[in-house]
């Protein structure tokens, strides 16, 4: 893929970026930057990339496996030619300025040569030194030579010098003897290196609260009290007990579990004052998963406030309650006492009636919160950035990923507590900022690979080379590899067959290249490990000597044979022969596949002229692309026109006016006011969109920021009195007239939200209520403010404002949806009555103003709108992203991106982050001069197609279409190669490259052959 030609001005800026931290946020930033043609140096201090997410079992609210999601990202990061990983490394100094920094990196000795280490793990069992396993949260032990976790990237071991017997006591060296790849290097030294970069992105991640300080919970003393992260490892199939939860004291399967929320969070005395944002949801997730593992598990969650504020989060809580039978109890825990006989735990709390309740559990899980890392203060000093009073990187809410130092950006939990999708969003958002800074230097620091022409093999008979890998003893210890190679040599089409100690090591790769040349091979089968991680490596190897990448197949005889049939050598050898032979049968029928490429129109179409659409448009033009901005009304600004300030007190109108002016003045943005999209044709890189006025616009990407609307209430007699107003109306009243001492303002939360038919949290209403409450009490301390709420969702650092409101004397009264406050409009007051939960009797308040916290709604024409773009909405009418966790601003259709309220309710800061992210993702796409289409796609044969439309109906990506001649054609650019079309086509007019029917059938025939071995 080539990049668009960079302009040569600002040549002093360096076209590379330093990403510090390699969790999911860092990887997202790195991949986006690398895909846009910038060189990325990714630094992290652990021996593997992956961060906190790699330690999780599943993720909310979909229950997806965390490792299955993050693992492909890790492999992609490690294989990307524009990403250089520096593991076991930390930045110790930064000099220079925006566009031109020099970072000094301290690279710790690994004592294992990553070039030689194949990740086979033969060294580990030999190592006598057992060490507390940090990855598994101390639940088990690892060795001094270790991989952080089984799927670690880079897949090489490291020696922990503090625990290695040779490095500490000069004895042992057993790993060295066990390593057949000669990868152990005890002479390795720490190194210092300097790297020049144009920009820096900080994603160092988090530390979890250490709960020992809360002595009443007994953590560290009571064995069956664990942290939520420990429980995550206990649930994990790759954790210390293989996913069958065993409690630490006796290994028994616990049946009665309790979670204690807010451990170390929302507590300024012996914890952190902020809300950690994710614990309510992960507790729900863990209780659901525990119940899925064993449906006799009974879970209780002790909580203060249920903060399920994200997209589809409330529904997930409902699922926990209704499907997994989780009991939610609103109570703070006084003490946990262990029964010395059973080691069960008695949890002491105060019940609704005010009496002490003791309940017995098999295990208690502490929902510990996030805090900045221990080295956060030093970290901020090294990078020269300001932090807030808690040690989080300081950013403006209007520029959420910019630090106080120009050219240095931040993403993820270092900017404040947040969940995975918000971290991913900020990762892409920070990348967008760096792309805008360095856009003109794209392609200047990356290496271009020059490959020889592909050899034409069309007229050649198959000449297959089979390489059977020993993988040290990983395969050869169980499978008779020589016999496998011998049997392979007898198969038709095989020219050469041999074994090799490590096929993936550099000398193994060279051997393959030499064999192709010497023996004139035109197809290669390597029998070693899984194609998921290693096929790209071997494909590149054969391509380097002129063979098409698709003339290769990897026979998995390690993960799917030797490792799962250990100690069954004869059976494993038999199976390995079958696996290799069926791959030979397929390979014989392989043909070269060409990957088509299409040009890219370097313009984006942005739908929606609110703050989301405008922020994205400005970012895109800063990155160097053209923008068409389509807004259905006659003014820019969207819903933000109605907002005066945010919770943190920024002047929103001044900010908005500035943004509108920048958009209007920018010659690269063409604004189409009073216009809508009528239809979109084309495909990624080359869309043609027709607007309502029949104008057509060509563009390479499409960004949807169509917004939502504010709910206008019908509840609580809103229409009956002008003293009953919404939060937005109160905000205007306070700004225009100010609050009045002596008056009583009563607010009711969740009006029209969190209830059928709009059973979702609108996320912004609690913040609005706090903002207005504080504004009243600061100016008119003698005014009475009462907030009647269900759960105050002051998540993250917004907890500060909840505390401030309470300190100012704002009263908070709880209500439940089955006992809503009653409103009676009288002559000059509004009487509000509710059940007083603490008093145990009815409460009546005479309000001068009743303020309704009304939420957000999707656009009323959502379904019709979505259909126009072939997108889908969730049950609430918000547009559905490609993946809730890892692709929060992408749509499943390539080239389509999403930001703002159209995705889900969110506040201004979150909208800006998401808009930058969408612009960054779109920008990375638009940076290419052409896009290469995957080779594994479906090929359509029009000659035998009957145009029955089975494929058109079934294809999830809209690739087959009815052409101008009325017959079916297939757009290969949209095709993902899933093969559904091939499955449903009655005429067999579709064949998927590399998975053709004759190739699969040959595998079936081979593996059903009766052999005597």
């Amino acid at each position: 893929m080539t990049m668009i030609t960079p302009k040569q001005e600002n040549a002093s800026r360096i076209g590379s970026v330093l990403v510090v931290g390699s969790g999911i946020g860092g990887m997202q930033a790195a991949l986006d930057l690398a895909n846009s043609g910038l060189m990325v140096h990714m630094v992290n201090d652990e021996p593997s990339i992956g961060g906190t997410m790699s330690r999780l079992d599943k993720t909310f609210p979909t229950g997806d496996c965390a490792m299955c999601m993050i693992s492909p990202r890790m492999v992609e990061s490690s294989r990307h030619p524009n990403i250089e990983m520096h593991t076991l490394a930390k930045v110790v100094g930064v000099s220079g300025h925006e566009g031109n920094f020099t970072a000094t990196i301290e690279q710790k000795a690994r004592y294992v040569d990553p070039e030689r280490c194949t990740g086979c793990g033969a060294c580990e069992p030999k190592c006598p030194s057992k060490v507390f396993n940090v990855f598994n949260q101390g639940l088990d032990k690892r060795k001094a030579i270790y991989a952080l976790f089984p799927q670690a990237v880079p897949n090489t071991r490291a020696i922990d010098p503090a625990h290695c017997l040779y490095l500490t006591k000069n004895v042992c060296r057993k790993c060295e003897k066990a390593c057949e790849a000669n990868a152990i290097n005890f002479e390795d030294q720490d190194k210092m290196i300097d790297i020049d970069v144009g920009s820096i992105i900080l994603t160092p991640g988090l530390k979890t609260y250490q709960p020992e300080i809360r002595q009443e919970f007994g953590y560290g003393k009571l064995q069956n009290v664990v942290t939520a992260l420990q429980f995550e490892r206990l649930l994990s199939a790759s954790g210390p007990c293989g996913g069958t939860v065993a409690r630490p004291s006796d290994g028994a399967h616990p049946k009665k579990l309790a979670w204690i929320q807010c451990v170390g969070s929302r507590n300024a005395h012996n914890g952190n004052p902020w809300c950690s944002s994710v614990c309510c949801m992960y507790a729900a997730k863990q209780s659901i998963i525990a119940n899925e593992h064993d449906n006799e598990v009974q879970s209780t969650i002790y909580y203060m406030e249920l903060r399920a504020f994200g997209k589809d989060f409330d529904k997930y809580i409902e699922k926990a309650k209704n499907d997994a039978g989780v009991i939610y109890k609103r109570a703070m825990i006084a003490e946990i006492v262990e029964d010395p006989a059973t080691r069960n735990l008695l949890v002491h709390s105060i019940g609704d009636d005010g009496r002490l309740v003791k309940e017995e559990f098999d295990m208690v899980i502490l929902s510990i919160g996030f805090e900045p890392r221990e080295d956060a203060a030093e970290f901020a000093k090294i990078f020269g950035i300001a932090t807030d009073e808690y040690g989080f990187a300081q950013t403006s809410k209007l520029r959420p990923v910019e630090t106080s130092r120009k050219g240095v950006y931040v993403a993820g939990t270092y900017q404040g507590p947040k969940d995975i999708p918000e971290t991913v969003i900020q990762g892409s958002g920070a990348a967008a900022e760096a792309m805008a800074l360095l856009g003109e230097r794209r392609g200047t620091e990356v290496k271009e690979v020059v490959l020889p022409d592909e050899r034409d093999i069309e007229d050649e008979e198959p000449r297959i080379g089979v390489i059977v890998c020993h993988c040290g003893t990983n395969i050869a210890g169980t499978v008779d590899v020589n016999k496998v190679a011998e049997m392979a040599a007898k198969e038709p089409g095989v020219t050469h067959s041999e074994t090799i100690i490590y096929a993936c090591a550099p000398d193994g790769q060279q051997k393959i290249r030499d064999l192709i040349k010497e023996k004139g091979l035109n197809r290669v089968v390597v029998a070693s490990c899984t194609p998921r991680t290693h096929a790209p490596l071997f494909q590149d190897t054969i391509r380097e000597v002129g063979l098409n990448k698709f003339l290769f197949e990897l026979a998995d005889i390690r993960e799917q044979c030797s490792w799962c049939h250990m100690h069954e050598n004869a059976n494993a050898t038999h199976k390995a022969i079958e696996i290799v032979n069926m791959n030979i049968a397929k390979t014989k029928r392989l043909v070269p596949v060409t990957c088509a490429s299409v040009g890219v129109n370097h313009t984006a179409l942005v739908v929606g002229g609110g703050i989301a659409g405008m922020t994205a448009s400005l970012s895109l033009v800063d990155q160097g692309y053209g923008v068409h901005l389509v807004e259905k009304t006659n003014t820019l600004g969207g819903l933000l026109k109605n907002v005066r300030t945010n919770l943190e007190g920024d002047d929103v109108q001044a900010f908005l006016a500035d943004v509108v002016q920048k958009v209007e003045k920018n010659p690269a943005i063409k604004v189409h006011l009073g216009s809508t999209v009528e239809k979109v044709d084309g495909y990624v890189g080359n869309f043609v969109t027709t607007l309502a006025n029949k104008d057509t616009v060509g563009h390479g990407a499409l960004l949807i920021a169509s917004g939502g609307e504010e709910y206008s209430p019908v509840e609580y007699d809103y229409a009956k009195s002008d003293k009953i107003i919404t939060q937005r109306e109160l905000e205007n009243l306070l700004a225009d007239k100010g609050p009045e001492n002596g008056k009583c303002y009563v607010m009711i939360q969740c009006v029209g939200s969190r209830e059928d038919p709009n059973n979702y949290c609108s996320r912004i209403c609690c913040q609005d209520a706090l903002k207005n409450s504080i504004a009243i009490k600061e100016k008119a301390p003698d005014a009475q403010v009462v907030v009647i709420y269900r759960d105050m969702r002051a998540y993250g650092l917004k907890e500060d404002y909840y505390r401030r409101a309470r300190d100012l004397g704002v009263l908070f009264f709880l209500y439940t949806p089955d006992a809503k406050p009653q409103v009676e409009v009288a002559e000059d007051t509004i009487k509000v009555t509710l059940e007083g939960k603490i008093l145990g009797r009815e409460l009546a308040i005479n309000a001068d103003y009743l303020v309704l916290s009304t939420g957000l709604r999707p656009q009323p024409d959502g379904d019709e709108f979505a259909k126009k773009f072939k997108l889908t909405c969730n049950i609430d009418g918000f547009l559905l992203e490609a993946h809730v966790k890892l692709r929060p601003v992408d749509f499943p259709s390539e080239g389509f991106f999403l930001a703002g309220l159209a995705h889900a309710p969110k506040n201004l800061e979150e909208t800006i982050s998401q808009s930058l992210a969408a612009a960054g993702r779109a920008g990375a796409l638009l940076s290419h001069s052409s896009l290469t289409v995957s080779g594994v796609i479906s090929k359509h044969n029009r000659d035998i197609c009957m145009s029955c439309l089975a494929c058109v109906k079934k294809c999830p990506f809209g690739a087959p279409f009815i052409d101008e001649d009325g017959r079916v054609s297939h757009n290969e650019v949209k095709c993902t190669g899933c093969g559904i079309c091939a499955g449903v086509c009655p005429a067999k007019a579709y064949q998927v490259n590399y998975f053709r029917d004759d190739q699969i059938l040959a595998m079936i025939d081979s593996v059903t052959e009766v052999h005597e071995y």
């Binding site: 199939a237 799962c564 250990m566 696996i579 059938l1001 059903t1008």
Partner: protein, 86 residues
């Protein structure tokens, strides 16, 4: 309407049901999606979980690619079971 079970004739196979030999093992082909089930099979190996060795995995780009002819061919060729996972 009540159904009189005795009146319904059980379909008869032309082949007699044979005794299963003691050392018999089912021969099974698994069709696995590259992105999920194949990855799961890999993870089983990484975790050293064991399962009978007479299960062979054929990788597909997606279980959407699983054509009925593959299933029929597998049975025609004498496999005892097919496992489709994705």
């Amino acid at each position: 309407m009540a159904i009189d079970a005795e009146k319904i004739e059980q379909p008869k196979s032309p082949e007699k049901v044979r005794d299963v030999p003691a050392d018999w093992k089912a021969n099974i082909i698994a069709f696995a999606c590259h992105y999920c089930a194949f990855a799961a099979a890999d993870l089983a190996g990484v975790m050293r979980l064991s399962y009978p060795s007479n299960v062979k995995v054929v990788r597909l780009p997606c279980t959407g690619k699983l054509d009925q002819i593959y299933l029929l061919r597998a049975f025609e060729r004498g496999v005892d079971g097919v496992f489709a996972a994705g």
